[in-house]
């Protein structure tokens, strides 16, 4: 059992606080949701947890040991993987090469990288896409390939940054199933950032709510659904963004 945690993490950009004293724990096999209105600091937190952004104060710990000073690729080697908003695949490369190059970067031999890439596509159920050029894929497939790429070499933790953005209800359901399988079958701890609050409430074991850079609520989905503070935090933004927050919370 492994644990990735943020311990009192604060981030300030030119004096502006993006995160203040945020703490959370993600354990193997757990699906942790991270929600909050736009600008709450969700992506900043993921950037800190994956080594893309150094915290101004506080620390990121892996099984109690500080990861301070390590770069993103070093964290990836230690089993902390992530996806990005919009997939960010190598668009000129075939799908299988996107996974293969990740395996190579993580120290596999060529043959082993090709084998694992094939097995991964198979596990996700997108083997048919192997030879497609990544840039030509529809949105949903692109996201699934990005998840497959992040799962190469079996990381202990997977941080998903808005994987359902732009998906239909049915596609989001398929994604929920995939996220559950990642946690159950692979024992991976999943941190899910998502605007689709319904998806988060449906799939996560535990949820952390951020607003203006601070944790305003944590708890299981039922508690979050009932929270007056969460509802209040979303009031201002939900109407502007047209996201199904209100419906999901009711």
């Amino acid at each position: 059992m492994s644990e990735l945690s943020a311990d009192g993490v604060s981030v300030a950009f030119a004096g502006l606080k993006a995160l203040s004293e945020v703490s959370l724990q993600l354990r193997s096999g757990q699906i942790l949701g991270l929600i909050g209105p736009n600008g709450a600091g969700k992506t900043t937190l993921v950037n800190v947890l994956t080594g893309f952004q150094a915290p101004t104060s506080g620390a990121v710990l892996l099984d109690g040991a500080s990861l301070s000073g390590l770069e993103a690729h070093e964290l990836r080697r230690r089993g902390v993987a992530r996806t990005f908003q919009g997939g960010r695949l190598f668009r000129d490369l075939p799908v299988i090469d996107n996974l293969e190059v990740t395996g190579l970067g993580l120290g596999l031999s060529r043959a082993a990288a090709i084998r694992e890439a094939g097995e991964m596509l198979d596990w996700i159920g997108i083997s048919a896409l192997a030879d497609r050029i990544a840039g030509t894929l529809p949105y949903t497939d692109e996201r699934r390939v990005a998840i497959g790429r992040a799962l190469m070499r079996a990381p202990d933790f997977l941080l998903l940054d808005e994987p359902a953005a732009g998906m239909s209800a049915e596609e989001a359901r398929d994604l929920s199933d995939l996220i559950r399988r990642i946690a159950r079958e692979r024992g991976c701890g999943v941190l899910l950032i998502e605007h689709n609050v319904g998806l988060v409430l449906g799939v996560c074991d535990h949820i952390v709510v951020l607003d203006s850079g601070a944790v305003i609520e944590t708890g299981p989905p039922a508690a979050i659904r009932a929270s007056e503070r969460v509802r209040h935090a979303y009031m201002g933004t939900a109407a502007d963004t047209g996201l199904p927050v209100q419906e999901a919370l009711v």
Binding site: D92, V101, G105, L106
Partner: protein, 303 residues
């Protein structure tokens, strides 16, 4: 001049530009650096065959080696100098903005050029590099120097080899990923220094190939001999869509073809202005396709 001869002229001139453009695009791909020192690396490769002297007559050093030693020697000189440039200069500018890197490359180019100037003076020297290549051959009824045919064949060979390297080898895959999105490739564990070093080595070897062709074609060693190819190659990479290797090659051939066709078709009194017409065509292309004919896919989306 027969149509076939014009085609061969266009192909051989285009080959030269394509090889140059490829050398620039390879480095631009992984580093967003337009390496203006590339032309001076070409000149350096030719002078590497001579003993330092300011006399008008070249004192040949490695230039007398048999071809099977001479060619690897020149390619290795290009690759070596290019890797040295990366280690000593460009590595330190890796996180600066592209304009700073470009200025650094200009400065480095001047350093190389003045280094050659000090050792060899600015006077062009006549050299006999692979003289057997200037004998004429007849292909499909068109007569041309053997060198022209070899230039075309070598370029095709280099392009095939590079394609296989990029598509079939581990380094190639890492390089394509890094060229498209360097930050992402790095995050996924691709070793940045190694990929960049290989790109510089390949680019330098391509400069060496151009040096061999130019040296045997002109029979002179001149410290500014790389400048014209560099300029045309740079234009080809811009037209090709910065960062797209296929685009750079295609645009290199297009430029060569345009220049050759204009040379053949313009009325004699207008031929002196050939380059003005070529640049005019370049401006037209850029007005209608500012992103280049084959823009690189990863250019817009960066982590």
């Amino acid at each position: 001049m027969s149509a076939l001869q014009i085609i061969f002229d266009a192909l051989s001139l285009g080959s030269l530009y394509a090889l140059g453009a490829l050398g620039i695009a390879l480095i631009f791909g992984v580093m967003r650096l337009v390496n203006f020192a590339h032309g001076d690396v070409i000149a350096f490769c030719v002078f590497a065959l001579l003993w330092p002297s300011v006399d008008a007559i070249a004192i040949v050093f490695a230039g007398n080696l048999p071809w099977f030693l001479l060619i690897p020697f020149v390619l290795a000189m290009g690759a070596g100098l290019s890797v040295l440039c990366e280690l000593v200069v460009f590595r330190r500018f890796r996180n600066t903005n592209p304009a700073t890197m470009m200025i650094a490359s200009f400065a480095l180019g001047f350093v190389i050029r003045y280094f050659l100037l000090m050792l060899f003076s600015s006077r062009p020297k006549s050299i006999a590099l692979l003289p057997e290549l200037s004998q004429p051959v007849t292909v499909l009824g068109a007569r041309m120097p053997l060198l022209q045919l070899i230039t075309i064949l070598v370029t095709v060979g280099v392009l095939l080899g590079l394609t296989i390297f990029l598509r079939r080898t581990r380094f190639g895959l890492e390089m394509r990923a890094a060229a498209e999105n360097f930050t992402m490739a790095r995050m996924l564990g691709v070793r940045a220094n190694r990929v960049i070093m290989v790109a510089f080595a390949l680019s330098g070897a391509l400069a060496g190939a151009i040096a061999l062709i130019l040296g045997s074609q002109t029979g002179t060693a001149n410290i500014v001999m790389g400048a014209n190819v560099m300029l045309m190659a740079f234009i080809a990479t811009v037209i090709g869509g910065m960062g797209s290797l296929a685009g750079a090659v295609l645009a290199g051939f297009l430029l060569g073809a345009t220049a050759t066709l204009l040379q053949a078709l313009l009325p004699p009194e207008a031929r002196a202005f050939r380059d003005a017409f070529v640049y005019g065509a370049v401006i037209l292309v850029l007005i209608f396709r500012p992103q280049g004919i084959l823009s690189a896919g990863g250019m817009k989306e960066r982590v």
